[in-house]
C-alpha cells in the first residue's frame, strides 16, 4: 500500500505546482482578450436544439449556451436571477412574480419579454408537444403576463422546487408561434438570446456556435465554440494527445495513469470535483431478508466503501453517507458513514437469525443459505467492477451474492419496473434542488415510478411534503438535512460513493475554475491570451 501510495502523492504535488505556475500569474496580470476557439469533445450528438425538448446531455450542453432561463444557480449553488432581474415569492408561497431584465434581445434583434416566458410555459404543458419535462409544471394554476417585463405564476399549492423549474430556457414566441414544435426547422437552426449564437450543425460531426457580442452580461471572450462529436472514448483520448480537442472528460484511469506525460501536463489543466449523484445498492424491501433493518445495516458495515473507491475509481471519489453529496446544502454533516466492521456486521446478522449452522461457510436461516442476486446494467464497466468487489466483501461475512449484468432496457422494464429483483447496483444523478419526493415518497411505487425499492416511512413522507411547501431557506435546510439523516438511518439503499467529475481543459484558457456546479458556470469569462491563441476567429457577420 505504501509503495503504491508514494508516487501518487508526489505526482499530485507536481501537478499542483505546475497548475500554480500555469494558472496564477496569468490570472493576476493579463487582461482578458477576445478571440480563439474552444473545441469540445463529446461522445454523443445533440438531437433537438430547443430547451423544452432537449433531454439528452449533448443537446443540453448546446442549448445551455444559446438560451437562458429566468433563474439559474450561481457557483455556490444559490438560486440567482438570470433573465429575471428579481423575483418575489408571496408570503403564502402560492404566487411567484418575476421581473425580467430590460433590453435583452434575441439573436435576431427582437426583445425578450414576459410573453416569451409565458409562451415557453404554454408549450411545456401543451399535450401535443413531445416534451418529457411537463411534470414539473403540474402544480401551476395560472401564468399571467402583467406587462412586458413582469410575469406572475400562481400555484395550486406551495411548491418550493418550482423555482428550479424556471431555469428552463426561454424560447422565442415571435419565431415559434403557430409552428409545430415537434418538427419545426427551428430545432436544427435555433435562435436564442444566450452568450452564444448558433452557426451550423453537421449531424454526427460538429456543432459550431459563435460569441454573441450583445450578450447582456458581456460578450464572451472565446469567439467560437466547436462541439465535435467523437463517439469512441479511445479516439477522444487520442485527440487529446494531439491537441485536437480542448475540453473533455477523463476516466479515473486516464486521470491517474495516462495523463502524466510532460506533454499532457503542459497542454492541459486537469480538474476534479464531486459529481452531483451517488452510486448505491438498492434493495427490494418486499424481500423478507432485506425488509429487516439489521440485515441492511450489516451489509452497510460489511461493504468496504473506501476500498471500492480506491480499487475502482483510483481514489477519485468520496464515500456517500446519504442521498445528498457534500456540496449540497441538504447534506447533513452530522451523519457519519458506518465504519467497515465485519464483527459488527456478523453480530447484526446473527441477531437477525442468520448464522452458519451447517458449517459450509455461508450463513443460513431456516435451512436456507443467504444467497441473493445483485443486478446491474450492461455497458458500465465501473458498476460491474463494483459488483465484484461487493460480492467479495460480502463473502467474508458469509453472504453469497451472485452478479447478473443485464442490458439497460431489459433491466429497467423487466426487472426494476416489475420488481423482479433482490438487489440492484445503480446510480442517481440528482438535480441541484434536494426534492427527492419521486425517489423516496411511499406513493411513488407504481410500475415505472422511481421508489422501486418500496421505501415507506411516514416520517420521511411528511418531511418530503413539508420540504416542497417551504420556501424559507433555513427551514428547508433543516427539513432536508433531517431527511438525509433519516434515510441514512433506514438504509433503503446502501449508499456507496459519489464519483468525481474529471474534466480537462487546454491550458491556454484562463479563468477556468472548479466549483460545486462544475467548471462551466463562468464560461463567458474564459479567455486565451493573444499569443497563446490557436484558432483564428471567424469573421463576424
Amino acid at each position: 500500500m505504501i509503495r503504491r501510495g508514494q508516487p501518487r502523492a508526489s505526482t499530485r504535488l507536481i501537478v499542483a505546482i505546475l497548475w500554480c505556475l500555469i494558472a496564477s500569474p496569468a490570472a493576476a496580470d493579463s487582461q482578458p482578450v477576445t478571440g480563439d476557439a474552444i473545441v469540445v469533445g463529446s461522445i454523443g450528438d445533440a438531437s433537438r436544439l430547443l430547451p423544452i425538448l432537449a433531454s439528452d446531455s449533448a443537446s443540453g450542453d448546446i442549448v445551455g449556451l444559446l438560451f437562458n432561463g429566468l433563474l439559474k444557480y450561481n457557483e455556490e449553488l444559490k438560486i440567482v436571477g438570470d433573465l429575471a432581474e428579481s423575483w418575489v415569492v408571496s408570503p403564502d408561497g402560492l404566487t411567484v412574480t418575476f421581473t425580467l431584465r430590460p433590453n435583452v434581445r434575441w439573436h435576431d434583434g427582437a426583445l425578450v419579454t414576459a410573453a416569451d416566458a409565458d409562451f415557453t410555459y404554454r408549450k411545456l404543458i401543451d399535450p401535443s408537444v413531445r416534451t418529457p419535462f411537463s411534470s414539473s409544471y403540474e402544480l401551476v394554476e395560472s401564468v399571467e403576463v402583467v406587462d412586458d417585463l413582469t410575469l406572475r405564476v400562481r400555484y395550486k399549492e406551495p411548491f418550493a422546487p418550482a423555482l428550479e423549474s424556471w431555469m428552463m430556457g426561454i424560447i422565442p414566441k415571435h419565431l415559434l408561434e403557430g409552428e409545430d414544435l415537434n418538427t419545426t426547422p427551428f430545432l436544427r437552426r435555433p435562435v436564442g438570446h444566450g452568450p452564444y449564437r448558433f452557426v451550423r450543425w453537421k449531424t454526427g460531426e460538429l456543432i459550431e456556435l459563435s460569441a454573441n457580442p450583445d450578450y447582456f452580461e458581456h460578450r464572451p471572450y472565446i469567439s467560437r465554440y466547436l462541439y465535435r462529436i467523437i463517439p469512441d472514448q479511445a479516439t477522444l483520448f487520442l485527440e487529446l494527445l494531439t491537441g485536437g480537442v480542448d475540453l473533455s472528460g477523463l476516466t479515473p484511469l486516464q486521470y491517474r495513469r495516462q495523463t502524466d506525460s510532460a506533454y499532457m501536463r503542459g497542454q492541459y489543466q486537469k480538474f476534479r470535483y464531486p459529481s452531483f449523484g451517488f452510486t448505491y445498492i438498492g434493495y427490494n424491501l418486499e424481500d423478507p431478508r432485506f425488509s429487516d433493518l439489521r440485515v441492511r445495516q450489516a451489509i452497510d458495515r460489511a461493504v468496504d466503501k473506501p476500498a471500492i473507491i480506491e480499487g475502482v475509481l483510483y481514489g477519485l471519489g468520496a464515500v456517500a453517507t446519504g442521498p445528498y453529496p457534500k456540496e449540497s446544502w441538504a447534506y447533513n454533516p452530522a451523519v457519519v458513514p458506518a465504519t467497515h466492521d465485519l464483527a459488527v456486521a456478523k453480530a447484526l446478522l446473527a441477531e437477525a437469525g442468520w448464522m452458519d449452522r451447517d458449517g459450509d461457510g455461508w450463513l443460513d436461516r431456516d435451512g436456507q443459505p443467504f444467497r441473493f442476486t445483485l443486478m446491474t446494467n450492461q455497458g458500465n464497466e465501473v458498476r460491474r467492477q463494483v459488483c465484484e468487489l461487493v460480492q467479495r466483501q460480502l463473502r467474508l461475512v458469509g453472504i453469497d451474492a451472485r452478479i447478473k449484468v443485464i442490458e439497460w432496457s431489459t433491466f429497467v422494464h423487466e426487472f426494476i419496473d416489475k420488481r423482479r429483483y433482490e438487489a440492484v447496483l445503480l446510480a442517481w444523478n440528482l438535480a441541484r434542488d434536494p426534492d427527492i419526493y419521486d425517489l423516496f415518497h411511499s406513493s411513488k411505487t407504481k410500475e415505472g415510478e422511481y421508489n422501486f425499492v418500496g421505501y415507506d416511512s411516514p416520517e420521511v413522507d411528511a418531511l418530503l411534503i413539508e420540504g416542497r411547501r417551504t420556501f424559507d431557506q433555513a427551514a428547508r435546510t433543516r427539513i432536508y438535512q433531517e431527511i438525509h439523516r433519516r434515510i441514512a438511518e433506514d438504509q433503503p439503499y446502501t449508499f456507496l460513493y459519489v464519483a468525481d467529475s474529471l474534466p480537462v481543459v487546454a491550458s491556454r484558457f484562463r479563468n477556468v475554475r472548479a466549483s460545486p456546479v462544475g467548471i462551466g458556470y463562468n464560461f463567458i469569462d474564459w479567455y486565451a491570451p493573444r499569443d497563446a491563441q490557436r484558432y483564428r476567429a471567424r469573421m463576424e457577420p
Binding site: 476557439a37 473545441v39 450528438d45 438531437s47 433537438r48 433531454s55 439528452d56 399535450p127 401535443s128 413531445r130 416534451t131 418529457p132 419535462f133 411537463s134 411534470s135 414539473s136 415537434n182 418538427t183 430545432l187 436544427r188 451550423r200 453537421k202 449531424t203 454526427g204 460531426e205 460538429l206 466547436l226 465535435r228 462529436i229 467523437i230 463517439p231 469512441d232 479511445a234 479516439t235 487520442l238 485527440e239 494527445l241 494531439t242 485536437g244 442490458e407 439497460w408 432496457s409 431489459t410 429497467v412 422494464h413 423487466e414 442517481w428 440528482l430 438535480a431 427527492i436 419521486d438 425517489l439 407504481k446 415505472g448 415510478e449 422511481y450 484558432y535 471567424r538
Partner: protein, 326 residues
C-alpha cells in the same frame, strides 16, 4: 430476357414483405421503448409524461396496428420521422449516404485494384514464394481486429508522426477552403478509414480470385492456348482472367448492400457520421422508423444485387441465357 427479369421481380415482393414483418416484429419484441431515451430513469420525467410521449408517437397501439400504419405509409414511399429528433427518415439517410458511399466506393476500388492482380499472380505459381508471401499478408489483415489496427495506426500516424488526422471527415476550417482545398482535406481525412477498411477485406477477395484463376488455368482451352504458342501474359489476362471474373461478378452483386451499409466499428472509431452509425444508434435508441427504413432499403438492395448478378451471368454466360428461354 425481359419476361425473365419481370418474373424475378414479382417474386421479390412477397419476400420483401416478409422481411419487413419479421424485422418489425423483432424490433418490437426487443425490450425497451423509444421513449426511454428522452425520459427513461430520470426523476424529472414522471410516469405520466412518459405515457403521454408514448401516446404521441402512437406506441400505445397494438403492434399489428402500428405495422399496418407503417406499411400504408411505406407504399406511399413515406418512411416517416425519426423518434429521436423528429426529422424525416429520408433526410437523415440522405445526409449520411454520401459519406458511406464515398468511403465504400474508394475501398471497393482499392480492394479490387489490389486483389485481382494479386490473386492472378498468386495463381500463376501456386505455392511459390509470391503466393506464400501474399497469403501471409492478407491473412494478417484478415485475422486482425479492425478496431485495434485502426487505433494503432491512429496512434502511429496521428499522434506520433502527425502525418494524418485522427478522426473526423473535415478540418475545423473546412468551410473557409476553396474547392480544391476541400477535396484535398477530405482525401487527407479518408486515407486511414479507407485504407483500414480495405486492408482487412483483402483476404477474402484475393482468395476468391486465386482459386477462380486456378480453376480456369486447369481448363483444356488454356492448355490449347498454350499449345498454340500464345504468349503467357496474353493467355493469363485475355483467356484466363475473363473467365475467372465470373464468380467475382456474383460477389460484386452481393456487395451492393455493403456499399451503402457502413461499418459501425470503423465509423465509430474514426468519428465518421455514416450509415453504420446511423443504424447502430437507431437500434440502441429503439428508433423504429429509422431501423425499419434501413432494413427495407437494405433488403431491397440485397435482392436487387442478386438480380443484377443473375443478369450479369446471363450476359457473361450464354448457357444461363438459353436455359431462361426454355
Amino acid at each position: 430476357m425481359g419476361t425473365y427479369l419481370f418474373r424475378r421481380l414479382l417474386t421479390l415482393i412477397p419476400v420483401l414483405l416478409w422481411i419487413t414483418v419479421i424485422s418489425f416484429g423483432i424490433m418490437h419484441l426487443a425490450p425497451g421503448k423509444p421513449t426511454d431515451v428522452s425520459g427513461g430513469f430520470n426523476p424529472k420525467v414522471s410516469l405520466e409524461a412518459r405515457q403521454r410521449l408514448e401516446q404521441l408517437y402512437g406506441l400505445d397501439q397494438p403492434v399489428h396496428v402500428q405495422y399496418g400504419r407503417w406499411l400504408s405509409r411505406i407504399v406511399r414511399l413515406d418512411f416517416g420521422r425519426s423518434f429521436l429528433d423528429d426529422r424525416p427518415v429520408m433526410e437523415k439517410i440522405a445526409e449520411r449516404l454520401p459519406v458511406t458511399l464515398t468511403i465504400n466506393a474508394w475501398s471497393f476500388l482499392l480492394i479490387f485494384g489490389i486483389t485481382i492482380p494479386l490473386g492472378v499472380l498468386a495463381a500463376v505459381k501456386p505455392g511459390g514464394a509470391f503466393d506464400r508471401l501474399t497469403t501471409l499478408l492478407v491473412f494478417i489483415g484478415f485475422s486482425m481486429p479492425s478496431f485495434w489496427l485502426a487505433l494503432l495506426c491512429m496512434a502511429l500516424f496521428g499522434v506520433r508522426l502527425h502525418w494524418l488526422p485522427i478522426s473526423g471527415l473535415h478540418s475545423l476550417d473546412y468551410e473557409s477552403f476553396g474547392l480544391v482545398g476541400r477535396c484535398l482535406d477530405t482525401a487527407w481525412h479518408l486515407i486511414l478509414p479507407v485504407g483500414i477498411t480495405a486492408f482487412v477485406s483483402l483476404a477474402g477477395m484475393s482468395r476468391y480470385m486465386r482459386s477462380a484463376m486456378l480453376d480456369v488455368l486447369r481448363q483444356d482451352y488454356i492448355r490449347t492456348a498454350r499449345a498454340k504458342g500464345l504468349p503467357g501474359a496474353w493467355i493469363l489476362f485475355h483467356h484466363g482472367l475473363r473467365n475467372a471474373l465470373l464468380p467475382v461478378i456474383t460477389i460484386l452483386g452481393l456487395s451492393l448492400p455493403d456499399l451503402i451499409g457502413g461499418s459501425v466499428i470503423a465509423e465509430t472509431i474514426f468519428s465518421i457520421p455514416g450509415m453504420g452509425r446511423l443504424f447502430y444508434e437507431a437500434v440502441m435508441a429503439r428508433d423504429y422508423p429509422v431501423v425499419m427504413a434501413l432494413v427495407t432499403v437494405g433488403a431491397m438492395l440485397t435482392m436487387l444485387g442478386n438480380l443484377l448478378a443473375d443478369a450479369g451471368y446471363a450476359i457473361a454466360d450464354p448457357r444461363i441465357r438459353v436455359e431462361a428461354h426454355r
